[in-house]
């Protein structure tokens, strides 16, 4: 056996091949490889564990603050224990709801336009601007709403200005995801419907949109989740309010603002507990919204890219 395998042409001339990483240089390469593999693994572990650490703190510290009062009562006088964040939850729902009322239809309409009719310079410009707008800092958009509707317009901090700012943040996100999803709908579906003599608009409404339903829903919900946590634009417009208020033309409480106030403006120990509690509530709301996206994804149809 052995003889058959040695090199035939120059017997004995060749040193035996070394297949082991035995010399110093090979060992060094192995060690470098080991170190870099460890570092790469550590980076992944770090990325994953940061989320665990942050969520862990919020859950462990926030859970004790949660009780029925926390969801149903208004905050007490500063420094006093008890009470809840009911006005803030309601304020957030109102402000985000109002923003959705404006932002969703506009975003959907623009997305449909880009996907179904969007050829040429105009559409390219809209696409480019929408892309650019998704990258704009939310505080700059807040500053615009502040200048337009707080400093001018209504003349005081108000919920409407906050909703407008959030709607401006939502619109480009919904526009781009809607367009992407609609482009995934196979063209032969459109052609089949048009070939039956169905008008274009009816084809879009009754054939294209239903197919893309779950994907579009995903995009919409993700944008709502995103603006639910927005704080900077609300700070400049809605400002916050310790009292329950339904007046859209005045300052209003909102969950993110409540966290900010408790975390920075109040010196009492109980404030931190309340901030943890409010953080947990906000995370749960955003988590539920994101979870419903996963469920929507199960409904099938083309999906938004994560």
């Amino acid at each position: 056996m052995q003889g058959q395998m040695t090199a035939p042409s120059i017997p004995g001339a060749r040193p035996r091949l070394s297949l082991e990483a035995s010399d110093g240089q090979a060992r060094r390469r192995k060690i470098v490889n080991g170190i870099m593999t460890t570092l790469i693994g550590a980076a992944a572990l770090l990325g994953v564990s940061i989320l665990g650490i942050i969520l862990g703190y919020i859950i462990v510290k926030g859970a004790p603050a949660l009780n029925l009062d926390f969801f149903t009562k208004a905050p007490p006088a500063l420094g006093e224990a008890g009470g809840g964040v009911a006005p803030a939850i309601r304020g957030s729902l109102l402000i985000v709801g109002l923003a959705s009322l404006v932002g969703i239809p506009v975003g959907l309409g623009a997305g449909i336009y880009l996907a179904e009719f969007g050829r040429g310079r105009f559409a390219d410009t809209v696409r480019f601007i929408a892309d650019l707008m998704t990258g704009l800092p939310s505080i700059a958009i807040g500053a615009v709403a502040w200048a337009l509707l707080v400093k001018r317009g209504i003349g005081t901090y108000n919920a409407i200005a906050g909703s407008v700012a959030l709607a401006i943040i939502m619109i480009p996100i919904i526009t781009r995801t809607t367009e992407e999803i609609l482009k995934l709908v196979p063209n032969n579906l459109r052609e089949a419907s048009l070939a039956l003599g169905t008008p274009r608009w009816k084809t879009i409404v009754s054939v294209v949109l239903p197919v893309a339903r779950s994907g579009i829903l995903t995009g919409v919900i993700l944008s709502v989740a995103r603006v639910s946590g927005e704080t900077a634009p609300l700070l400049l417009t809605v400002l916050g309010n310790s009292f329950a208020s339904n007046n859209l033309r005045g300052p209003m409480a909102a969950l993110p603002l409540e966290i900010y106030q408790y975390a920075t403006k109040s010196p009492f120990a109980d404030s931190f507990t309340k901030a943890w509690g409010a953080s947990l509530v906000l995370i749960i709301i955003i988590g539920l919204l994101s979870l419903s996206v996963r469920l929507a994804a199960r409904l099938g149809g083309p999906q938004a890219r994560r």
């Binding site: 040695t6 035939p8 091949l17 297949l19 990483a21």
Partner: protein, 314 residues
Amino acid sequence: MSTSERRGRETATIETAQTGIADGRGMAPASASPAEMAQAAQEKAQVREVIEQKAGGGVSLVAEGVNAWYGSTHAIKDVSMTFRANEVTALIGPSGCGKSTFLRCLNRMHEVLAGARVEGKILIDGQDIYGKGVDSVRVRRHIGMVFQKPNPFPMMSIYDNVIAGLKLNGIRKRKSEMDETVEHSLRGAALWNEVKDKLKESGASLSGGQQQRLCIARTIAVEPEVVLMDEPCSALDPISTYKIEELIGELKQKYTIAIVTHNMQQASRVADWTSFMLAGDAGYGQLVEYGRTEQIFTQPQDKRTEDYITGRFG
């Protein structure tokens, strides 16, 4: 089928193998100007010069009972064969017969795919490359590989592509020695004349055939004992294919070569030994027949080999 019947078909078989299955590849350039012919002759002389410096440098490679899996899929079963030193062995067979998988087992490239697994022995110079304490990185340094699609590193210059393997192995040479190695390897791959004036350009700037020869230069620069080639011409035009086939004929004096090919004409042109693999109904590929190339193509011992080379399936 009786032996006499098979013999009777011999002539027809050869004809089919040469023309019937021909797909246009591997043809020599039909017309060449005198200048081109002179250049080709010069190139050949260069290759030969390089080769002669290490004639008989290959060692034989012996596979014993090799099995390979992708996850739970048994891809090849109990393949045993020898790749003789300084000879070319071709692996032929229809798509999915496991010939490429087997080739990748020979320098432990199979296992880099997720879930891939190998069992059995592959001996080089008497040592099992799957043995205890063996470093797969070391194995690949001794058993080089050229891939189906030319894969030069696009972010490196032609020069850096050639010395990429040397750099890895920490072989530090003076600039002049490096230059020498680059020229030597490029001459060995019959590419020097075409690229000597643009060594600093990206490896991706070359044509497909040149890229493949650059990959060959890169492979031989580290002076391996065995060179594995996985359908090295399948992405190339006929002229480039011709050049590489010629090159293989020269390289075998220095290296042991195993080549997977779809093209039976190519196997008959370049290989000293040919093995035919086939995936049966069970799904895994097995070695059907192994022998001298002339014997496989003229007197196949197995009915399935004969069916394949006469173009009856695959």
